[in-house]
Symmetry: C2
């Protein structure tokens, strides 16, 4: 990969990377289109596909994570992706260096999933060093992740610009995610309540966050198989909790639907 | 710096980086010559000069660390260095991402100086991302550091090859170090005992490490102002302690000479 990246660099070709864990869906497709636009006609779009063990704090979650490499390649072909980078493994047995972040990752997903963001940052740093992209595209669906990656790029001076792509949703509002494949039919329908909670938040500007969180939890847990992990109203830039839900803030939430953990978020 | 690095890259020029904290001496000069040879006539040698606060666990040590930018620039001119990168500061106020290593850094300097290697790796990662070198030169004098940097490059896939330059010594054997400037005349003379300890180790191949360490400590602490921090015989590749000092192993030692902490090491 690094040798190929050097060839592109020597030809002065713009390289745009879309890092994924595979099981590609319409959300990824839209990120790939963001990448294609940025790469322009003569630039290179690289999609990496790697289910990164280091970011799974739960070994069962890693085991059942959906994998579909042939279908993924087909989607990449449809979108005129120039290269798919799908390594078997990215870690030496005695690997001992990781990236850690100690401000943005102490809350939300970072609190629920210890070590998760260290794993994400470490693999993204490796992908940046292997692919040497000029731009890299991340989904707003994983909003804390996108914020952490932007911080990592800033703090370590990676010569990469980060682009965000908006969350893609099913007709009933459910944010598209590879994990949706793990839901049963009834769970799938119940999952839509998360986007309804975001919609409800948007209609409650000016409310105290503590009150709104209580209401949203009640709304969400009316669904028999859905249990809230967290609901938080935050400043979009630094992810610090806000007292009052105002325009420009963001609501972030995580819930278990049966045994499947889903996250979603939205700008107010 | 990053813009200039892009210019070099677009011209397909080989870039070789020598990261330093300034107070340049004959040891640095020899590293710069290693870099010059590797860059060849038409390549670029960059010397970075930055007293990295993040790697100082002791604020007094940071405060008294010698600084001599004009003399440093003069030495770089003498050695036909192409660019000196001497940033005022490399960190945002709310910087929150660091690199950590949890195998090689649990011993020796890592144990004596908590956070030191996280600071070293973080600044080196930043310098690699800012200068985008093909090669980077480190001194064997800081042997654990060189080992940690090689591990970092391997584990994070930095597209940089690491070169090591041998330790330069004064006539009496004292390893050349910027910190030698902080020694008084008598301390300066006593400091030479560290290299004598290395020499003694080389003449004691086959001895049990535990016995040899006791002898060396006695030898070193005969000097009135010198107190040992650690003496260790290790496997050169993984820095694990060995039981018997054999050819190919390495002795690493640290001592305080007055209030100045010196380190040295040698291949057996």
């Amino acid at each position: 990969m690094q040798r190929q990246a050097a060839v592109w660099r020597n030809a002065a070709q713009r390289v745009v990377l879309v890092p994924t864990m595979g099981a590609l869906h319409e959300g990824h497709r839209s990120l790939i289109r963001v990448a294609r636009r940025k790469a322009r006609v003569d630039g290179i779009v690289v999609v990496s596909i790697y289910v990164n063990p280091l970011q799974f704090n739960d070994s069962r979650d890693l085991k059942i994570y959906p994998r579909s490499l042939s279908a993924d390649k087909q989607l990449c072909r449809e979108e005129s992706v120039d290269a798919v980078f799908a390594p078997i493994s990215l870690y030496e047995k005695d690997a001992s260096v990781v990236l850690v972040e100690n401000d943005l990752t102490t809350c939300l997903e970072g609190k629920c999933r210890p070590g998760h963001f260290a794993g994400v940052m470490t693999v993204v740093a490796k992908l940046f060093n292997l692919v040497c992209p000029d731009f890299s595209v991340f989904g707003e669906k994983d909003f804390q992740q996108a914020t952490v990656i932007k911080r990592m790029v800033r703090d370590l001076d990676f010569p990469v610009s980060i682009l965000l792509g908006p969350t893609k949703r099913e007709e009933d509002g459910l944010a598209i995610s590879s994990r949706n494949l793990l839901l049963t039919g009834p769970q799938r329908r119940q999952g839509a309540v998360l986007s309804k909670a975001i919609e409800f938040s948007r209609q409650s500007l000016g409310s105290r966050a503590v009150d709104l969180k209580r209401k949203l939890k009640r709304l969400i847990e009316k669904e028999p198989d859905v249990r809230v992990d967290y609901i938080e109203f935050v400043d979009t830039l630094n992810l610090k909790p806000v007292k009052v839900a105002r325009k420009g803030n963001r609501v972030l939430l995580a819930a278990r639907v049966g045994s499947v953990r889903l996250i979603d978020n939205g700008l107010l």
